[in-house]
Point group: C2
Chain length 125, copies 2
DNA sequence: CGGTATCCAGGTCGATACTG
DNA sequence: CAGTATCGACCTGGATACCG
């Protein structure tokens, strides 16, 4: 694939391709929840424990969105007290690869970016 | 690399790794501007034309952020009328690869997701 | 031409309280 | 246990007007 075609992939028609995916997983918690669920099926409460800082509300919302998009499946057991388990769907698991490549980029370049940022801010002040 | 290590990569310490990169390029325009600049060095006005729908304000802001992080370089020529050119830095270009892999995922799965979404919404109503 | 300044509408997210 | 409901602070981004 040529570089030009790559760029077109990202830009799509008016950028809708990349917008679609970022609207889906570019929020504060989605990718974190997906990464956590990559460890295997998990209950609501466990998930809440393993995603530090997430509120109950945001975990619920995030899971609903991911479920709606078919990235996560929800299974509730009619027991008392209730038990609900979540796991990645097949499609959900295929997202982990690309997400990891972005995370790797982030980890590799974080120190340089921080340095650049400090240098930039120093120039401004 | 094991699956477990992959997940740790994304989750990092409390998810800071993935948060860092998403805060940087997860906004509405950054990745679009980067993809456009991947075509080569470009003037402010041309950039505005090639990123459909972006406002002057958001283009300026986005470019400032990318410049601050060392992903884009800015060159202004002391002429009248002024001319300012932007281009990806070396580090900026390395981001295109991972971004493309995410875009490819998005393009491949968009139809399925849309379908899942419609099915989910139909069940709710 | 390439910005900056200002205002504001809408959305996101956290805290808190309550429920089956 | 696994949610739902409500409120409010904050932030993003669009429109508009003006500037060197």
């Amino acid at each position: 694939m040529s570089d030009y075609e790559k760029v077109c992939l990202i830009r799509g028609d008016g950028g809708s391709a990349i917008r679609g995916i970022l609207d889906r997983i570019g929020d504060k918690w989605s990718l974190l929840v997906i990464a956590t669920l990559d460890g295997g099926r998990m209950r609501f409460g466990d998930l809440k424990q393993h995603v530090p800082g997430i509120s109950q509300r945001m975990l619920t919302l995030t899971l609903r969105h991911l479920e709606r998009d078919g990235l996560v499946s929800r299974t509730s057991y009619p027991e008392v007290p209730p038990r609900v388990e979540y796991e990645l769907t097949g499609m959900g698991r295929t997202l982990v690869g690309p997400a990891v490549s972005l995370a790797e980029w982030a980890i590799r370049h974080n120190p340089i970016i921080d340095e650049k940022r400090r240098a930039y801010d120093a120039r401004q002040s």
